[in-house]
Amino acid sequence: MTTDKNKLLYDSSENDTVSNFTNSNLDNNPILECKNLVKSYANAEALKGIDLTINRGRIVGLLGPNGSGKSTIIKLANGLLTPSSGEILIAGNKPGIETKKIVSYLPERTYLNDWMKVSDVINFFKDFYDNFNAEKAYEMLQKLNINPNDKLKTMSKGTKEKVQLILVMSREADLYLLDEPIAGVDPAARDYILNTIITNYNENATIIISTHLISDIERVLDDVVFISYGKIFLTKSVDEIREDEGKSVDTLFREVFKC
């Protein structure tokens, strides 16, 4: 049951002091950096100058109301959008082929074409991503009783979303970007998704979850970033918020973003 990964966790604990809790520094550079990042469209400014640094080995919540800029930051990080000005760096690199290799992205919508079977899609991911772990994917599918020979066309929306999540989490990436992974999903599926996130955690990778459903995922987060109207409002660890404010992140969020 004990694996090498767990050994590393134990190693890191030997060096920790009370106040300075950090993860083992396999790789020291931040996984995501935004420097005065601006994204504007013809009729609106989606991001008005974002400064953000996110380190490895963290599970981070990107929290804000709809239209606050959460999705924009994620799309800029995976190269689907280009900055209007400023910089966004993934492991020190601008978004491009090298960063796409180490970023695993789960969008809000299904991006798989219908005519393929599940096994076809797995082969697709295997073809294009060196760090895709097909055995892990098959294992997870089996636990959910999804038959790899089924065509995606025949599946319900919920099942397709689970398949997508499995594909994304089966990549051994450095940065996972999950855009609203639990919105519109039934509670049992929600638990499964959160459990998948927890069990796939590794100290060299970071998971950024963008959502407006906070109370469900609070316990899974290390840090939270509040974003509103294209500006970062607050960056704190969940523990800090609970210790300093004596409230849950959800409560704080509701206070801060009261209409």
């Binding site: 013809a42 799309k75 995976n78 190269g79 689907l80 959008l81 280009t82 082929i97 090298e98 796409k100 290799k101 970023v103 992205y105 969008p107 919508r109 299904t110 991006y111 798989l112 074409n113 005519w115 697709f124 073809d127 294009f128 991503y129």
Partner: protein, 267 residues
């Protein structure tokens, strides 16, 4: 990576086209049976209905092959790169150039195949051993006559013609891609804008072609054609057409690539 993308392109598009090809050839064979066995003449009245239906089905399928080829090219680009699947395709570790090239190459491939299958189906139907061998005899006779008169030039000209057709083909496809990409720049009425862009691009191409044509006829270059013994003018025209279309092809490709790389905005 390009090879892998092309593999998936063929899989995705072949599913639609290959059944059509099979259907077309099947109808051609059926029609051939009707014609060949003389049934078409012997049956009268109601008896000839199956034959008429068969010809009709063949005609429809032929039309379908070309229409569907055209639509597959458009829809594949639009849906796979600019629709929901774009969330996957544009986050793969490949360049936009690779993505565009994979689609363009397979689109060209199917265009050529569709043409071949169409011709093949006609040959099947019209196959008559005598007429065929006579046709081939005269065909090769023309070649050796041409060779006797002009020498190796004949084969060079033929090669140039084939290249010209190919370049014209990829230019057209690239123009379609550029139109769709330009339409993507608009946040509303994207399909309408794509059509508009297509029309505009066509007009621009036509305008430039005409301008060059007029300039050419007004200049002294046309006197070169008075001397028909030399085959140089033909080469010149063909090579010029090839270069001309090549430049447009590159321009459309650059437009498409720029938009996909820098101005992508998926819903």
């Amino acid at each position: 990576m390009l090879g892998k993308l092309m593999k998936y392109e063929i899989k995705a598009t072949g599913r639609t086209l290959i059944p059509l090809y099979i259907a077309l050839l099947a109808f051609a064979i059926i029609n051939k049976i009707f014609i060949g066995t003389g049934l078409s003449h012997k049956l009268e009245g109601f008896g000839s209905i199956p034959f008429i239906l068969s010809i009709f089905a063949y005609g429809c399928t032929m039309a379908a092959v070309f229409i569907v080829t055209f639509f597959v090219i458009i829809q594949r680009f639009y849906k796979n790169l600019l629709g929901d699947e774009g969330y996957l395709m544009n986050t793969l570790p490949v360049t936009t150039i690779t993505n565009i090239t994979s689609k363009l190459s397979i689109a060209t491939f199917w265009n050529i195949i569709s043409g071949f299958i169409a011709v093949l189906s006609i040959i099947i139907m019209a196959f008559n051993a005598d007429a065929f061998s006579r046709f081939f005899y005269e065909f090769f006779q023309a070649f050796s006559d041409g060779y006797a008169q002009f020498g190796i030039q004949v084969y060079i000209v033929i090669t140039e013609v084939i290249i010209a057709i190919l370049v014209q083909l990829i230019k057209s496809i690239a123009m379609i891609y550029a139109s769709i990409s330009i339409g993507h720049l608009f946040s509303k009425h994207r399909i309408l804008s794509s059509f508009g862009a297509f029309i505009v691009l066509n007009l621009i191409t036509a305008a430039i072609s005409s301008a060059i044509g007029i300039a050419f006829s007004l200049s002294n270059l046309s006197t070169l054609f008075d001397n028909l013994e030399s085959s140089w003018p033909i080469h010149l025209v063909l090579i010029f057409t090839i270069l001309f279309n090549l430049i447009f092809f590159i321009a459309y490709f650059i437009i498409t690539n720029y938009i996909l790389k820098n101005k992508l905005n998926l819903e």
